[in-house]
Symmetry: C2
Subunit: 332 residues, 2 copies
């Protein structure tokens, strides 16, 4: 059974998950070569038996579950960091705190097409993925053991992906993670002072200043944050104040997919198809943060290594200013 442990000094939560050791080559940084051909890829049509049974699928021809005929599938992770079965138990060891490793860990297989090479990602694939994420979040939220549901995509081996077939991940957690809590605390402090959402303020300021604004459409805005930890880090915000991603209506999801596709393709062209991480920052499940939290997407291409300095301090060195990165991207 995996276990969640809390660092008694900083409050950082860690999942100790021996299950993950069984994952092929968890020590290595290379993509499993055997998985790079469709016959061996567990995410390819025809290989449905290689994954646990699906929790959601897009099957336009109404084909039966767990066989071919799908455009997108969601399946439990075969090597889950957390387990769905069992009771949520909090316990201690000396003055340490731990929680049984209850949670969910699912994979969104975004397309049935195995990639031949790195190329543009279409807005239909993104829309299907976001729509599946929205459905799964709403379903997982019914389980009151979960405090936070996280959706993210690791693209490429240096970003942490172990399979080349395009996929995203969903993790339901029994605690709110530290970085999200820091965002909530920061946003609450701003709200207590000004009675305004800090994210709404940032959107308005950046839109007027136009120094770090990459693009916008009717519902969304893409910008480089004022203090980006990484070169070419970007943030995508809904213009309408909304704490929860899963309450995004279809019309906004379509608008988001189109701006996200355009952003990813600009990055691909400028930086030669880099590996990247993309994370949806969402309100916690049982949230009372509606006034001041504002869901958003964090995007970071993997261009350099994070080293001791960053680990030790939570302090980042970035050789490219956000103003410069936005200028380069606009010129693509």
């Amino acid at each position: 059974m995996p276990e969640l442990r809390k660092d008694p000094i900083t409050g950082t939560w860690v999942i100790i998950s021996e299950e993950r050791k069984k994952r092929p080559k968890y020590y290595q940084i290379v993509v499993n070569k055997d998985m790079s051909i469709p016959q061996n890829c567990p995410f390819c049509p025809g290989n449905e038996a290689m994954t646990p049974p699906e929790t959601y699928a897009l099957r336009p021809d109404h084909s039966p579950a767990n066989g071919p005929g799908w455009n997108l599938r969601v399946v439990p992770n075969k090597f889950p960091a957390l387990r769905i079965e069992g009771e949520l138990r909090k316990s201690g060891e000396g003055f340490y705190d731990k929680i049984s490793g209850i949670g969910a860990h699912e994979v969104i297989i975004e397309t049935s097409q195995h990639p031949e090479e790195r190329g543009d990602i279409g807005s239909i694939q993104i829309q299907n993925t976001l729509s599946a994420a929205r459905y799964r979040i709403m379903d997982l939220k019914k389980d009151t053991r979960f405090k936070y549901i996280m959706v993210f995509k690791n693209f490429g081996p240096t970003a942490g992906a172990t399979l080349a077939h395009s996929h995203s991940q969903i993790v339901a957690l029994p605690v709110v993670p530290l970085r999200v809590q820091e965002e909530i605390d920061g946003a609450q402090a701003h709200f207590d002072l000004k009675e305004r959402c800090i994210f709404c303020d940032i959107i308005q300021y950046e839109s007027e200043a136009d120094r770090r604004l990459l693009m916008e459409n009717e519902h969304f805005i893409v910008l480089a944050p004022y203090a980006p930890r990484f070169s070419f880090e970007l943030a995508v915000y809904p213009k309408r104040h909304n704490p929860a991603f899963e309450s995004t209506p279809d019309v906004e999801l379509e608008s988001l997919s189109s701006i996200l596709s355009e952003t990813l393709n600009k990055i691909s062209r400028l930086l030669n198809h880099p590996d990247y991480n993309l994370i949806i920052h969402n309100a916690p499940c049982q949230n009372n943060v509606g006034d001041f939290y504002h869901w958003h997407i964090e995007f970071m291409p993997v261009l350099s290594r994070v080293a001791g300095f960053e680990w030790g301090t939570g302090f980042y060195i970035n050789p490219i200013s956000p103003e410069e990165s936005v200028q380069s991207l606009k010129a693509v």
Copy 2:
């Protein structure tokens, strides 16, 4: 001029340092091949002119500065993330905060020997390095513009090192970084409640429980933390309560060097000379944290990639429990 920027939501500080772009191959993850031979290595004897003038050196034969004849040199980083010259100015842009990028960035060249291959690291080299760090911290602390001085070692390309010749780094910062502040806040909360140092409590508990204790000597203890973010993460604590590394006397420095050398060599043997990061966590410069902060070393071998999940949440998945990693290391 580099710039320090503060994220308005989480409070994370970022250095925007265009200077670092000039560093060879900052985009790539490989060690510069040209630097792997002593004729081209800026850290080898005879090449002293390739670095800025030294700020400290161990010269047993009293040879003149900035020529050969040394066992250890400290020099300013040729591509510093921060600059020593200039006035510390705080300013804003809209509601954003920034500080001029004042600071120091030095390199400790730990030995005159260019490495032929990865091997054991002797306790004399470690002692020389720690002694140089102690001297440089005391000197840099005289500059009241600095709030925090950080000492760390990135070993190997996947840990962020760009040169193979053994070195550590010193960075003096005009702010206290977020992760250190979190440690201070956590330690203060514990002290307010119990009037005890949380680090002293951990040392006592782990020493008695003997589940995560790797080794100890008269002055130091090496253990795996209860909630380690990374596999085989280790912490080294002085047994005597002491907030500031630079006030460590010679006898303790010798004891530390010996236990650190033994620890590194165990890791090397078990994990086949992995890349690693080693960081000294020290009290801030103008500290009033003496009652409850306790300096220590954080050690993390680089065995897997940090991915979107970790970045987005500050929440880590670790496939090996600290109890298991200590057992494996003890068996070496």
